[in-house]
Every structure is written in C-alpha cells, then in structure tokens.
C-alpha cells in the first residue's frame, strides 16, 4: 500500500528508540553504562534511570562504546553529562550529589576500584572540570 502524501508544509517528526541500560559507575561529570545494543559515539540522548520508585533524567553524550570481550553482545558505554542547563529536581547529577552529601541514605556509594577506574575509563573532550 502506498502512503497518502501529505500536502502543505513539511511535517517533521522525532523518532526515538529506547536502549535498555544499566549503570555501572558514575562520577560528577559522566557515567559508565552497560547495554546489549551498540550506541554510536557522539550520540546525544536522554538517560533515564530508575531507582526504587524514582526516575532520574539527564541528557548525555556518548563518548565511548566498547564490546565486552567474551560477553556476546554486551557493550560498555561511556557517557558524559551534557551540562547545558541547571540540573532539575529529577536530575541524575543532582541525585548523585545528594547521595554524596549524605542527604539520601537509601543508597550508598563506594569508590570504584582503581583498576575499574582505568578499565572502565571514558574518553572525554578534556574540557570538563575536575
């Protein structure tokens, strides 16, 4: 069947796909995710993370995507937070900051081991603040 062509001004759309992910580790400026799907480096998207009953959201840019050897199709995906606006109430960055300050005691953070910090490192532009 052929489509009924649209008349008048061009109609645009936004087609979005959802890539299931799991958070491996996180820092103030980025995070490492695991995914069964490859994600192109440079992709900008919205990361939504579910913690208990809450959903936290931030925009991220994919900086690295590596197939984990011997895992079939499991990818480690590095992402940096796109800091174009103030973190909102449901921001992942804000949630992490609250956990680090001890304001949220339902979740504990522990420092990632030094080895993991190297193996799971994420390429960035180098412009982020330490």
């Amino acid at each position: 069947m052929n489509p009924n062509p649209l008349e008048g001004p061009e109609v645009i759309g936004m087609l979005a796909r959802n890539v299931p992910t799991r958070l491996v580790d996180i820092s103030r400026t980025g995070c490492l995710l695991e995914s069964a799907q490859r994600v192109e480096v440079g992709t900008v998207g919205e990361l939504r993370l579910q913690l208990q009953q809450d959903t936290f959201v931030d925009d991220v840019r994919i900086t690295r995507c590596v197939l984990v050897e011997g895992s079939g199709s499991n990818y480690q995906v590095g992402a940096e937070f796109v800091q174009t606006q103030r973190p909102g109430e449901r921001s992942i960055r804000r949630a992490i900051a609250a956990i680090l300050r001890g304001l949220d005691t339902t979740v504990r953070l522990k420092r990632a081991p030094a080895k993991a910090a190297v193996v799971n490192s994420v390429q960035t532009t180098g412009e982020e603040a330490s």
Partner: protein, 89 residues
C-alpha cells in the same frame, strides 16, 4: 591518562536500571491505514519498537510504532532511509 574522565567514580549499592532514549529527526511523508511513512538519515531494524512524535502546525502527536520496512532511497543525491512504521499505540 590524558583525555579520560578525571573525577572519582562511584559504584552504587543498588543497581540502577534504565534506558537511553536516542532521538532522530525524520520527515513524515504520509499516512496509510495504521501506518506512517517517514524518511530518516539512519536505517532501522525491522520489528524495532520506536516512539514517533509528529510535529505539524497543530499540537504534536506521540505514537508507539513498529518498524515494518526500512529501505534505502536516494533523495537529492543523498542516501536516506524510507521507513514504513506500523502504529501500535
């Protein structure tokens, strides 16, 4: 290590599951019975479930769609992909 994340990393005591929503602009070519044709810069996998926001003169409409076909086409000398999307919700 130059070019690497410099901030201290943390792992969480409970797993955080979620999804990365990756949007892409498309041009909507037309509608059929429970189907939409769009032109995209990237191909899609058949049966992949996606979300389409149609933005016209009126309020935008959001629908869940399933990729029925994805065919490369040449438009103005550039390879694009014509997607036939079945509306599923």
């Amino acid at each position: 290590m130059p070019g690497r994340r410099r901030d201290q990393r943390f792992t969480l005591s409970v797993p955080w599951e979620g999804a990365l929503r990756v949007p892409a602009d498309v041009t909507i070519e037309g509608y059929g019975d429970n189907e939409v044709w769009v032109v995209s810069a990237t191909p899609a996998h058949r049966d992949e479930l996606l979300t389409l926001d149609a933005i016209g003169a009126g309020p935008s409409v959001t629908m869940s769609v399933r990729v029925a076909d994805s065919l490369p086409v040449l438009i103005d000398g550039i390879v694009r992909h014509r997607l036939r999307l079945a509306i599923v919700g």
